[in-house]
């Protein structure tokens, strides 16, 4: 790998996510014009990321969502019982 290629790699993630500064973008694009290997790397990564984002882009199954809601409701119930028991113990200690 050439030194010029190594120099742009650190900023490549920001560039791919469109978050690199204008200065960094210009530097990378200037390099890509003259480097087929890096251009292919960038093109392939864009493709991989786009395809992978589409894959499994599903919402949580309704049944799972309801199940978790029930589990958390049980947790709230347990917490509430623990708090009540705690304050009863505290009252008894005061007496």
């Amino acid at each position: 790998m050439r030194r010029a290629c190594k120099a742009i790699l650190g900023s490549l993630s920001d560039y791919l996510e469109g978050e690199a500064s204008e200065q960094v973008c210009n530097k990378i694009e200037e390099h890509l014009k003259g480097c087929k290997m890096c251009q292919m790397h960038v093109d392939n990564m864009r493709l991989i990321i786009t395809m992978y984002k589409r894959w499994r882009d599903v919402d949580i199954p309704r049944a799972l969502s309801l199940r978790i809601e029930q589990v958390i409701a049980n947790e709230i119930g347990r917490l509430s019982r623990d708090r009540k028991a705690g304050s009863r113990r505290a009252r008894r200690r005061k007496k």
Binding site: L9, G10, L12, S13, D14, L16, E17, E19, H41, D43, N44, M45, L47, I48, I49, M51, Y52, K53, R54, W55, R56, D57, V58, D59, I60, P61, L64, S65, R67, I68, E69, Q70, V71, I72, A73, N74, E75, I76, G77, L79, S80, R83
Partner: protein, 220 residues
């Protein structure tokens, strides 16, 4: 129990039940909901769950690659978040904290699994029996053709073959679109380590896909 469930599933915070009321509650920040939930407001935690359940499910599904493990991870993540909420010091965003819990649970799940060898060269099952994936002639961009034809299954196998720590970095940074800094905070590593892992991940992914492409070309 009914009261508790109603509390958690408050109509004022549920998109399915509330209609217009939701518009008003959308303005409530995560921070405010966290404070209310810490004081024991079940409906506030319910709203946080509804805000993040799809994102957390997708993250868990992509990390674990199976529906069953993803469901376990999501449930465990919300229970853990609920139980640990009082200890959450709010130095980071709630979403970062929740992502961190989820990623750690997913990594634990992956560690418990027996080591699997995932091969992109494995034949695919069809109605006519098992067959090897074939590539078309005249591939101008072989990777593009491969992904178009076989869509994400090949890509899924390539991501699955990544070591879990690298898979996490790739998913958080490039799929979930989190910043490098946020990815570092979630994984508890430095920004430099995120960048370095991302670079290695990109190379591993492309290497695996091109290795697969080459093996298919040789078969023809």
């Amino acid at each position: 129990m009914q009261t508790l469930k109603q509390d958690l599933h408050s109509a004022s915070t549920c998109a399915d039940c509330s209609g217009g009321v939701m518009v008003a509650t959308q303005k409530v920040s995560d921070e405010a909901l966290v404070k209310r939930a810490k004081r024991g407001d079940g409906s506030a935690f319910g709203e946080l769950m509804r805000r993040y359940q799809n994102k957390i499910y997708r993250l868990a599904r992509r990390m674990t690659q199976t529906d069953e493990d993803a469901e376990d991870v999501v449930q465990e993540a919300f229970v853990k978040a609920f139980r640990s909420l009082r200890g959450f010091r709010e130095k980071s965003r709630f979403s970062t904290w929740l992502y961190r819990i989820t990623v750690n649970l997913a990594l634990m799940k992956l560690r418990k699994r027996k080591p699997e060898v995932v091969s992109l060269d494995e034949p695919i099952s069809t109605e006519e029996g098992k067959m090897h994936r074939e590539l078309e002639d005249e591939a101008t961009n072989p990777l593009e053709r491969l992904l178009e034809r076989e869509s994400a299954e090949v890509l899924d196998a390539a991501v699955e073959a990544l070591p879990p720590a690298y898979r996490a970095v790739f998913i958080l940074r490039h799929v979930e679109g989190l910043s490098t800094e946020e990815t570092a905070r979630i994984l508890g590593i430095s920004v430099a380590a995120v960048k370095s892992r991302l670079h290695r991940t990109r190379l591993m992914l492309q290497q695996k896909l091109f290795h697969y492409l080459r093996s298919q070309t040789k078969r023809r």
